[in-house]
Each structure stands twice: as structure tokens, then as C-alpha cells.
């Protein structure tokens, strides 16, 4: 580890015309700027998707409500799901990967900087196309504007007969375009991690964040592409008169389900693996211990990636597969819990006996561990086909996957924000607002999604526009909606914190958390070239070695 990689003073910037600044951001190929663009873009869509969720919840606050029309309700849940998965979760995770991976492996940029910019702008175009449907969707008399076919877009809902006008096509093309963007970024991450590591950083010494993003990128290559292929088929059906999903010409509606979920299930792991990566960086630093079981963590991740490719049909137990298929997918789904459990034990093992500091980032991490465990357990329940027959398409399922996506992914992401915001901006986020954000969000989350489980067990189906005043349903739905509002307030606190701390937060310095990976060796924010001279590493914790020359990790490897 050469010491001149440390403490490069950030260049003084003078006020420049805003056109120049915008031009610089639009034409940038710097991985850090693109990372921030991804993150800001995703945060904007988080607000949009959140507003859609709020509209859904206001509509369901009491029986026979008519806050929005059924048509608008269908558009809201379609747009909410599509937005949150493709234009919030994916870009924000790619943003963090873009920003952090080169810094953590001691590289000056990604392997293909221009491809990186191209991928971001493809993703951005995808999101804009999706939302342009509100304006451009009314192509025909009687046709709706925004897509309303659900985020799975099951056939035959997407057939011309049932979805006239171009609204479904906006959905298809938006996902196709942003899918190409994702593939570009995945190729870039794989090439960066395999080809640009600094001297001494063998695969065995890579930070877990880099390892897990490597696995995630590999999954993107294999799992996003089936969706692209299915979208191409759907376009052929809708525009060239093809019959892929046209049951009247012998086509099959269920094959769309298979193609969609061949993408859809690995997608969950594409989203959660980078969150595992955040946990594997944050928990050790705030427990003041190196990660427990590094090789096992890597092995478990690769194992999850493989097994998760063969579990997709547990989403469609209800379409009536034969008993062999049901058993196969039930067993593989339960099997995926094993490597995931190993990871949870490893994080607990890291915390065990450590001197834990409950900073906001760590609070969110512990929240993640707790909630992701419960989400995993309800997942195991649903893996059993007969149980799934009973509860599939009910609010139990909605509660389960929101537990994964909000309780798991979003909590981990908030942790990542509190942990890396100082590196990205040079300012600390307010701990006081952070703690308020955490507790409000925690409360709102549990009010909403714990209660949804019960509504589901009582038989409330998902995607219904309104419901009869049945015993229990009214109170439960009221609590769910109140919880949603509490989460909304928490998000406002978070945004306030982001904006306020950007201007008024205390200066962060290079290494506010006394951490061990290379990104903390450079200034905050890092200079455009990242490292003045490329670092050389001798262990998994290069900064530990530098700070403790009397007892470096490299001695034990």
C-alpha cells in the first residue's frame, strides 16, 4: 500500500455558468459522476413510485372507496411495480456499484467508460418512455394511457384485443431499452472487476462488495436477457401479427409466465445480492471486526446465484403444473434458503463479540437482518406448493415480497446511503435526522407490511380495486394505509437530510468511519482520477494494514 494514495486535497472549484456544469454532467464518462446520476435518477423515481403506492393505499383505506377509478387503480399498481423494480432498485444498485467498485478495487475508472455512460442514458430513456405513456398513450378512441396490465403483463392481457392503443408498448419498449442498459453495465462491471484490479488484489482479497457485484452482474447477463427475448416476442405479436402468446392460433399464455419468471425470480436476487454486499461492508466496520467467514460468504453467494436460476416456477404453482414440476420447484426454492441462512449467520458471527457502534447505517443494517430473515421465512412457507395454492395472489404474497424489497433491499440501501454519503459528497449526514428517519420508517414499515400478512390470510386478494366491509378487513386496511403515510413522512425526513447535509453537514474527511477498504484512502469526494498512484494491497483490509503496520492482516493470509 503506497502512502501517496492517501490524502489528495480535493480540487477547489469556482462558480461556473450552469450550462457548463450541466454539459459536464451530461457528457461525463466518469464512473463516480455516472454513479451519482444513477442514484439521483433512482431517487426521483422512488418519489414517483411512492406517490403511486400512496394513491393505491388511499383508495384501499376503507371499503367502497372511490378516490380513483378502477382504470386508474390498475395503472397505478402497474406503474408502481414497474417503476420500483426497473427504475428505482436497479439503477440505484447500479449507481452504487458504479461508484464503489472501481474505488474499492483500486482502479481509476470502469473498464469501458463510454459504454458506462451509454448504459446510463439507455436506462434514463427507458424511464422517460414509460412515463411518457401518460401523455402519449391515448392512441385510439377508448384506449387507456399508462400501462395497466400489471408488472408481469401476463398474456392475453397484452394482446391487441385487450390492450388497444400503445400503452402496453411503452411498457415493453421501456423495459427492453433499460434492459439493454443493464446488460451493458453488467458487462462493464464484470470486465472492471476481472481486468482492472490493482496489484496485489487477488480474487481472494477483493472486498466482498466487489465479489458480490461480480456475481450479480453475471446473473444480470443470464437473467435479464430472457425478459428482453420475451419482450421482442411480445412486440412481434403486437406489431407483426405473430402468435407466440396467441392462444387462438395455438400459442401459449403460460409460456409468457415461464419466460417472465425465468427473469423475474433471479431478478429478486440481482437486487438483493448488492444489498448483501452493502451489509458485508457496513456490519464489519461498525462491529470493529473483519467479516466472519469470507470464503463461505463468496461460496454462498455463488450458490444462491446458481440455485436461484432454477426456482422460477414457484411463482406460478397455481397455473397447474404436474406434481413432478411442483415438487422440483418447491425443493429448489427451499434449498435457496440454505446459503441465504449461512450469510445471515455470518453477519451475526461478525457482530458477535464486536464492539458495535449503532450509527444510523448500522441501525438500518440490523433492521435489514431482522426483516430479511422474516421475509425469508414467509418465502419458505410459500415454497410449499399446497400452502401457495391457498395464499397465492393474496395480500400475504404482497406482504412477503414487500418484506424482501422494502424490509430487505430498501433498508440495506438506506444503510448504504448513510455509510457512503460522506465519501460521495464530503459531508456527513445528520445522525439525529438519520435516527428519526430510521425509527419512523421502521414503525411505518411494520405497520404496513406486518398487517398485510393478516389481511392476506383472511383472504384479501391482491390487485383488487375495492372490497366489501368484511370483519377485520376494514381495520387492517386502515392500519396499512396509516403505515404507508408514516413511511412517506420518513422518506421526507430522509430527503431533507440528504439536501440539508449536502450544504450544512459537518466535513467528512477521508475516512470518517475508520474503515478498511480502499475507497476511504482517497479524499471525499474522490478526485476524478481516484488514485494519484495506483495502490498495492497485501490483504483484504489494506487500510488496516496501513493504520496498523505493527500487526497487518497480511501477516495472517
Amino acid at each position: 500500500m503506497s502512502s501517496d494514495a492517501i490524502a489528495i486535497p480535493s480540487a477547489r472549484t469556482e462558480a461556473r455558468p450552469w450550462v457548463e456544469v450541466v454539459h459536464e454532467w451530461v457528457t461525463t464518462v466518469d464512473h463516480k459522476r455516472l454513479g451519482i446520476l444513477y442514484i439521483v435518477y433512482a431517487l426521483a423515481f422512488l418519489v414517483v413510485g411512492g406517490i403511486e403506492a400512496t394513491i393505491i393505499r388511499i383508495q384501499l383505506i376503507r371499503p367502497h372507496n372511490d378516490f380513483v377509478s378502477p382504470q386508474v387503480f390498475n395503472r397505478m399498481f402497474t406503474m408502481h411495480g414497474t417503476t420500483m423494480i426497473f427504475f428505482v432498485a436497479m439503477p440505484v444498485l447500479f449507481g452504487f456499484a458504479n461508484y464503489l467498485v472501481p474505488l474499492m478495487i483500486g482502479a481509476r475508472d470502469m473498464a469501458f467508460p463510454r459504454l458506462n455512460a451509454f448504459s446510463f442514458w439507455l436506462t434514463a430513456l427507458g424511464g422517460l418512455l414509460l412515463y411518457f405513456s401518460f401523455l402519449g398513450g391515448n392512441g385510439l378512441y377508448g384506449a387507456g394511457n399508462a400501462p395497466d396490465v400489471g408488472w408481469w403483463a401476463y398474456a392475453p392481457l397484452t394482446a391487441k384485443t385487450f390492450s388497444p392503443g400503445p400503452s402496453s408498448d411503452y411498457w415493453t419498449i421501456a423495459l427492453l431499452v433499460s434492459g439493454f442498459g443493464s446488460i451493458g453495465t453488467a458487462i462493464n462491471l464484470v470486465a472492471t472487476i476481472l481486468c482492472l484490479r490493482c496489484p496485489g488484489m487477488t480474487l481472494n482479497r477483493m472486498p466482498l462488495l466487489a465479489w458480490l457485484n461480480l456475481v450479480m452482474s453475471g446473473m444480470v447477463l443470464i437473467a435479464i436477457t430472457p425478459l428482453s427475448a420475451a419482450q421482442i416476442m411480445l412486440l412481434i405479436d403486437r406489431y407483426l401479427g405473430g402468435h407466440f402468446f396467441d392462444t387462438q392460433a395455438g400459442g401459449s399464455a403460460t409460456i409468457w409466465m415461464h419466460f417472465f419468471w425465468i427473469f423475474g425470480h433471479p431478478e429478486v436476487y440481482i437486487l438483493i445480492i448488492p444489498c448483501f454486499a452493502f451489509m458485508s461492508e457496513i456490519i464489519p466496520v461498525f462491529s470493529r471486526k473483519p467479516i466472519f467467514g469470507y470464503p463461505v460468504m463468496v461460496g454462498a453467494t455463488v450458490c444462491i446465484a446458481f440455485v436461484s436460476l432454477s426456482v422460477w416456477a414457484h411463482h406460478i404453482f397455481t397455473i397447474g403444473m404436474n406434481s413432478y414440476a411442483n415438487s422440483f420447484f418447491a425443493i429448489t426454492t427451499m434449498a435457496v434458503g440454505v446459503p441465504t441462512g449461512i450469510k445471515i449467520f455470518n453477519w451475526i458471527g461478525t457482530m458477535w463479540g464486536g464492539s458495535i457502534q449503532f450509527k444510523t447505517a448500522m441501525l438500518f443494517s440490523v433492521g435489514f437482518l431482522f426483516q430479511f430473515l422474516i421475509a425469508g421465512l414467509t418465502g419458505i412457507m410459500m415454497a410449499s406448493a399446497p400452502f401457495d395454492w391457498q395464499l397465492s395472489l393474496s395480500y400475504f404474497v404482497v406482504a412477503h415480497f414487500h418484506y424482501v424489497i422494502v424490509g430487505g433491499i430498501l433498508f440495506a440501501l438506506f444503510g448504504a446511503f448513510y455509510y457512503w454519503y460522506p465519501k460521495m459528497t464530503g459531508r456527513m449526514l445528520s445522525e439525529r435526522l438519520g435516527k428519526l428517519h430510521f425509527w419512523l420508517f421502521f414503525l411505518g414499515f411494520h405497520a404496513t407490511f406486518d398487517v398485510m400478512h393478516f389481511a392476506g390470510i383472511l383472504g384479501m386478494p391482491r390487485r383488487i380495486y375495492t372490497y366489501e366491509p368484511r370483519p377485520g378487513w376494514e381495520t387492517l386496511n386502515l392500519i396499512v394505509t396509516i403505515g404507508a403515510f408514516i413511511q412517506g413522512v420518513a422518506i421526507l425526513v430522509f430527503v431533507t437530510n440528504l439536501v440539508y447535509s449536502y450544504f450544512k453537514g459537518p466535513k467528512a474527511g477521508n475516512d470518517p468511519w475508520d474503515a478498511w477498504t480502499l475507497e476511504w484512502s482517497v479524499s471525499s469526494p474522490p478526485p476524478a482520477y481516484n488514485f494519484a498512484s495506483i495502490p498495492v494491497v497485501a490483504s483484504r483490509r489494506p487500510l488496516w494494514d496501513l493504520k496498523h503496520p505493527e500487526d497487518p492482516d497480511s501477516r495472517y493470509e
Binding site: 443470464i222 435479464i224 421482442i232 407466440f244 400459442g251
Partner: protein
């Protein structure tokens, strides 16, 4: 401190990682393989499920000559790369042009076949399931051949301007990987459509 760095500075000298172009292209090939797999699965799944004719047995003819053209272009592009590595620019240029010609000939073959199917046999993409899956799968492959030909032609132009030398051979190697992939996919498509599918 010296304890930490000294053994590494020596290793620094032999620190060698794979070429990013090759790794990136390998990533693209993995992604493309997944797309083709889905189309192949759809083709096989819908075999014999068309409600109306024509069927593959009635209308398809095995394009052996054009297949030989495409597959032999893999050999010529490989030899071209070898020649460039050894600095023989002239032979590189000749072999590269032959590769493009063979690829173009293959596309011409596809065009002939489609013309015959559409105008003589009345099979279009909307006729039946066979038409939909056949034109999508073969068309997807032909699109990739076309994209490959565009890239090969760009190299040809640079080469004619005398700008392609030994120092570009790693890039040429990356492009060859793509071309080999397109050829390998044709073996799968050929097997599925013309051998299994009839």
C-alpha cells in the same frame, strides 16, 4: 511498513490481468446466448402446434451450401487474425475480405430462402406458429450476422486506409470472438430448425 510492501513490489512486476475486451465480449456472448436460448426453447415448444399449414416438412429446404459458407468464414477470420499477429497485413486484408464475402453470401442465402417461402409458399411471420417462431429465430440470427458484417466492414475500411496493424490484433481478436459466436449459434439454429424441426 516495509514488511507490508516489500514482497508486493516484486509481485507488482508480474501482475497481469486478462484483456478487458475479451472479458467484455465474453460477457456479451453469455447474454446473447441466453436470448437465443429463449427463442430456441420457444421454437421447440411450438413444434407441431400450428393449427394451420404450412408445416416445416412441407416448405423447408436444408441450406447446406450457405451453411458451409458461414462456417468456413470462421476459419478465414481465425487465419486473418493469425496473419495480423505475425504482421502480414496483405494476407490479413485478403482473408478479412473473404470472411466478409462469405458472411454476405450467407445473408444472400437467407434472403433467397425467405423470398421463396414468402412468395412461393405463402409463409409469413403471421401465417401460423411455425412462421412466427421460424422467422423470429432465423431472423434474430440474421440480425446478428448483419451486425457482425457492419463491424467487419468498418475494420475493412480502416484496413484499406492502412490503419490496422499488429497493435490492433487484440481488438481484432475480440471481434473474431463475436463472429465465432454467430457461427456457433448457426450450428444450433441449423440443428433445431432444419434437422430436429422437420
Amino acid at each position: 511498513m516495509s514488511d507490508v510492501t516489500s514482497p508486493l513490489l516484486e509481485r507488482d512486476l508480474e501482475w497481469k490481468l486478462p484483456y478487458r475486451g475479451k472479458v467484455g465480449m465474453a460477457g456479451l456472448i453469455i447474454a446473447e446466448s441466453a436470448i437465443f436460448s429463449i427463442f430456441v426453447v420457444a421454437y421447440l415448444f411450438y413444434l407441431g402446434k400450428s393449427i394451420t399449414g404450412p408445416t416445416p416438412r412441407e416448405v423447408l429446404e436444408t441450406p447446406i451450401f450457405f451453411t458451409v459458407c458461414l462456417l468456413s468464414s470462421s476459419l478465414t477470420i481465425h487465419l486473418a487474425g493469425k496473419e495480423l499477429e505475425n504482421g502480414h497485413r496483405k494476407t490479413f486484408l485478403i482473408l478479412w475480405s473473404i470472411t466478409i464475402a462469405l458472411g454476405a453470401l450467407f445473408l444472400f442465402g437467407t434472403a433467397l430462402e425467405w423470398h421463396r417461402l414468402i412468395y412461393e409458399r405463402g409463409l409469413t411471420i403471421s401465417t401460423n406458429l411455425f412462421g412466427t417462431t421460424y422467422y423470429s429465430l432465423v431472423g434474430l440470427h440474421a440480425t446478428h450476422v448483419t451486425a457482425g458484417l457492419v463491424m467487419l466492414s468498418v475494420v475493412l475500411l480502416f484496413s484499406l486506409a492502412d490503419r490496422v496493424g499488429m497493435d490492433q490484433s487484440a481488438r481484432i481478436g475480440t471481434l473474431s470472438m463475436y463472429w465465432h459466436f454467430v457461427d456457433a449459434v448457426w450450428i444450433v439454429v441449423f440443428t433445431v430448425v432444419y434437422l430436429v424441426g422437420r
